[in-house]
C-alpha cells in the first residue's frame, strides 16, 4: 500500500526507500506524486524535516526464464557514498592527507586524492561518525576529530542548511540557540562568503548566494 512519509531530521531518500522495501530509491523519487518535492529539493539526499515523500505500492516484478538454468538477477540498487573534500588555508585541495573515517563503529583509512577528497561507500543506515587526521602538520587538528552526521544536511534554501554549509566552509555562522549572537554571526559569515566569492555583500542569502554556496560546498 502506498504511504506518505514525513521526513525526519537525518533522513535521506535512499534510507526512506529501503525502509519501505525499495532497493532503488529512484522508483520512489521519480514517482509522479513526488514531482513537486523533486522540483523543490533537487537532491534526493538533501531533504528537510517535514517534507512529505510519497512511497508507492511495491509492484512484484515478473521475469521469464527457462527452468534448469541459472539466472542472474541484478538488483538495481544505487550505491550510496559519502564524499568529503578538504581545502587548505589558501582554498587549495588538501592532497595526500591520511584520514581515518569511523562510521557507526567501522573504521576505514583513506588518503585524500588530487581534489583533496575521500569517498566511502556507505550503508543507508550510516548515521554518526568521526573523521580524524593522522598527521600533525595539517591545517586541521589531529587530536580533535571532525564529527560527521550523515543525512543531516538541510536544503540550501533553509537557514539551517545555509548555516551548515557556512560552518563547514569555515565561516563560523554562530550558534543558532544563542539569541542576539545569532544574527550577527550569521550575517558576518554570509557577508564574508559573499566577499570571498565576488557576490554583492549584503549578508542576505538570496538566490545567487544560495547557488554559489551549493556550488562551493558541493551539494
Amino acid at each position: 500500500m502506498s504511504t506518505r512519509y514525513v521526513v525526519k531530521q537525518g533522513d535521506h531518500l535512499t534510507r526512506i526507500a529501503r525502509a519501505h522495501g525499495f532497493d532503488d530509491f529512484r522508483i520512489v523519487w521519480n514517482d509522479a506524486e513526488n514531482a513537486e518535492l523533486r522540483q523543490l529539493r533537487g537532491n534526493p539526499n538533501v531533504l528537510f524535516p517535514g517534507d512529505v515523500v510519497f512511497v508507492p505500492d511495491k509492484e512484484a516484478k515478473k521475469e521469464s526464464g527457462s527452468t534448469n538454468q541459472r539466472h542472474r538477477f541484478v538488483v538495481n540498487a544505487q550505491s550510496l557514498k559519502l564524499r568529503v573534500r578538504w581545502l587548505d588555508l589558501s582554498s587549495k585541495p588538501l592532497r595526500d592527507a591520511s584520514v581515518i573515517l569511523s562510521l557507526d563503529g567501522t573504521e576505514t583509512r583513506h588518503v585524500t586524492n588530487g581534489e583533496g577528497q575521500i569517498e566511502q561507500p556507505i550503508n543507508q543506515s550510516a548515521d554518526e561518525g568521526t573523521i580524524q587526521f593522522e598527521s600533525d602538520d595539517l591545517p586541521f587538528d589531529k587530536v580533535i576529530p571532525i564529527e560527521v552526521h550523515v543525512g543531516h544536511l538541510d536544503p540550501v534554501e533553509t537557514e539551517s542548511g545555509q548555516r551548515a554549509r557556512l560552518d563547514a566552509l569555515g565561516y563560523d555562522a554562530g550558534d543558532p540557540q544563542q539569541a542576539g549572537d545569532k544574527n550577527l554571526a550569521f550575517r558576518s559569515a554570509a557577508e564574508e562568503f559573499q566577499c570571498d566569492n565576488g557576490l554583492t555583500v549584503d549578508g542576505k542569502v538570496g538566490p545567487k548566494t544560495r547557488a554559489k554556496l551549493k556550488e562551493v560546498y558541493g551539494c
Partner: protein, 452 residues
C-alpha cells in the same frame, strides 16, 4: 558578553590571554547517489592574543618605550605556552612555535589614511623588534611621519640610557643606529629569565615571504576602535580647544595586538585580505561590514566592542578578534580572591566591616566583609592596591594596607599570594594591637534573641 578565554597576565601596559578553545568541526553531511560532495575549508583562528597599550609608545609616535619590557615577558611566556614540541625520532625535540601576526590600531580621530600609516608604523616597530630587523626601525627613523619622528634627543636619550650608553650624545649614523637599535631591542625584548628573545620571520603567519610583511604585520588604521563615543560626547570633545580629554578617552583605541595561531598555520600572503602596513586603505574597505558606515558613526549611545560588538568596521578583523579577550577593554576579572579578616587579639572574625579597595587613586571596590569576615572580589589587574577598612582606625596597620602585586608572580608581600589558576583564598591576619578592642557592629542572632 564576557570575554571568552583565559587571561594569563595583565599589566598597566597590556594583556596576554588564551582564547577559548574552538568547538570541534561538525559536518552535517549529505550522502551521495550522484556526484555530490561535502566540503570542509581550513581557516586560521587565533589561539591566543597579546595587547600592548598606547602607554608603551611615545606620544603620537611609533617609538617603543622601554617599559614594554613587562608586556614582552608576557608575550614570551605566551609563545612558549603555545609551542608544540614533537619528538619525531623519539629522542630529539622539534619545536613548532605558534605563528604570529601583528595588528596596529589608531583612534578614530583625524583621517583614515593618516591613521592607517600611523598604525602600520606601530605594527612595524613591534614586528621589527620581535624579529630584530633593525632595518625596519631605521626605516621608521629615517622617514618621519607627522609627529612620529624618532630623531629627537629625547628618543635617542631613552635608548642610550637603556643600553648604558648615556655618555653618547652626539649625532648618529646609520651604522651606530643599527648598533643602538639592536642593543635596545635585546635589552627590552626579554623573557622571564631576562634572556633576550626574538621571533624568526618564518614564524609569522605569512612566513616572512612577503618583503612588505603581508600577513605578518599590518595597520588597521582607525577602522577597528574598541570604544566609540556617543555623538554628544564627541561633539563635546570637538568643542574643546584642548584635546587632552579626547586623547585620554581614546587611549583604549590606540593599541597593538599580536595574535598567536595554531602551530603549522601558514597563509599564502597573496590570499591574505589585509593590505601591507605601507599600503593604503582600499583593501581594508573591501573587507568592511555592509553596515560599516553606521558602525563608524558616533551614534546616540556610547558603544564598546565588549558589549555591543558593533564597533569594528572591518568584518575580517571582527571575525578574527571581535571575541578575543584582548579586545574586550578592561578585563573582567583576573583574580577571584578572598581574604579572611580575623583579629589576632581574640581570634574572632571581623565581620560586617566596611572597606574600600583602591587602585592608585581610583576607588575600585566598596563593600563590607561578610559574616565570616571574608572579603571576596574579582580583581582585574595587577598593580598597587590599597585597602582601607573602616572601624579599625587607630591600629598600626590600619586604615591603609598597601597590597603590592608584583608583576607576573602576583605576589602580595607578607600577606598572601595571588596566582592565576592557584588557590584564590588566603587568610589575612590583621596584626592589631592585643590591648585594643575592635569595635564592630554586632549582628543580632535571631535564636539567641528569642531566648533572651
Amino acid at each position: 558578553m564576557a570575554a571568552e578565554g583565559t587571561i594569563s597576565g595583565v599589566t598597566d601596559g597590556g594583556l596576554a590571554a588564551t582564547h577559548a578553545p574552538r568547538p570541534p568541526i561538525r559536518l552535517l553531511a549529505a550522502p551521495a547517489t550522484g556526484p555530490e560532495r561535502n566540503t570542509i575549508q581550513a581557516r586560521v583562528f587565533p589561539l591566543a592574543c597579546w595587547r600592548v597599550e598606547d602607554l608603551r609608545f611615545e606620544f603620537d609616535s611609533s617609538f617603543v618605550l622601554p617599559d614594554i619590557q613587562v608586556e614582552l615577558r608576557l608575550l614570551a611566556s605566551l609563545i612558549e605556552e603555545h609551542t608544540r614540541v614533537d619528538f619525531p625520532d623519539g629522542v630529539n625535540p622539534v619545536r613548532f612555535p605558534p605563528p604570529l601576526a601583528v595588528f596596529g590600531h589608531a583612534d578614530p580621530v583625524s583621517n583614515d589614511d593618516y591613521n592607517k600609516v600611523l598604525s602600520g608604523r606601530r605594527a612595524q616597530a613591534i614586528y621589527g623588534m620581535l624579529t630584530r630587523k633593525t632595518e625596519l626601525w631605521e626605516d621608521l627613523f629615517s622617514h618621519p611621519f607627522g609627529g612620529d619622528n624618532w630623531n629627537t634627543p629625547q628618543i635617542l636619550g631613552t635608548m642610550r640610557a637603556k643600553v648604558g650608553r648615556s655618555e653618547d650624545t652626539g649625532p648618529t649614523t646609520a651604522a651606530t643606529r643599527a648598533q643602538l637599535f639592536a642593543e635596545y631591542m635585546d635589552r627590552i625584548c626579554q623573557d622571564f629569565f631576562d634572556r633576550p628573545f626574538q621571533v624568526d620571520p618564518k614564524d609569522f603567519l605569512g612566513g616572512g615571504q612577503d618583503s612588505g610583511g603581508k600577513a605578518d604585520f599590518q595597520g588597521c588604521g582607525e577602522f577597528n576602535p574598541v570604544l566609540m563615543f556617543s555623538k554628544e560626547e564627541n561633539d563635546r570633545f570637538n568643542k574643546d580647544n584642548d584635546k587632552t580629554a579626547r586623547n585620554e578617552a581614546n587611549i583604549p583605541n590606540r593599541r597593538v595586538l599580536v595574535f598567536l595561531f595554531r602551530p603549522g598555520s601558514k597563509v599564502d600572503p597573496a590570499s591574505w585580505p589585509c593590505p601591507r602596513a605601507k599600503e593604503g586603505v582600499a583593501a581594508c574597505k573591501k573587507r568592511f561590514w555592509s553596515d560599516a558606515s553606521k558602525r563608524r558613526e558616533f551614534q546616540e549611545l556610547r558603544r564598546e566592542n565588549k558589549e555591543t560588538h558593533d564597533t569594528f568596521g572591518c568584518r575580517f578583523y571582527d571575525r578574527l578578534a571581535g571575541r578575543s579577550p584582548c579586545e574586550q577593554g578592561e578585563p573582567q576579572a583576573l583574580f577571584h580572591f578572598s581574604l579572611l579578616l580575623r583579629s589576632n587579639s581574640g581570634g574572632g572574625v571581623l565581620s560586617n566591616l566596611k572597606y574600600k579597595i583602591f587602585v592608585t587613586d581610583k576607588n575600585l571596590i566598596e563593600d563590607k566583609t561578610d559574616d565570616e569576615g571574608r572579603v571576596k572580589h574579582p580583581i582585574s589587574r595587577a598593580g598597587d592596591f590599597r585597602m582601607e577598612i573602616e572601624g579599625l582606625d587607630g591600629f598600626t596597620m590600619i586604615p591603609s594596607t598597601p597590597i603590592e602585586v608584583v608583576d607576573r608572580l602576583h605576589r602580595v608581600e607578607g600577606f598572601f599570594i595571588l596566582e592565576p589558576g592557584g588557590p584564590n583564598d588566603a587568610d589575612f591576619f590583621l596584626p592589631v594591637d592585643p590591648d585594643e578592642t575592635v569595635e564592630k557592629p554586632e549582628k543580632p542572632k535571631p535564636e539567641e534573641g528569642a531566648n533572651g
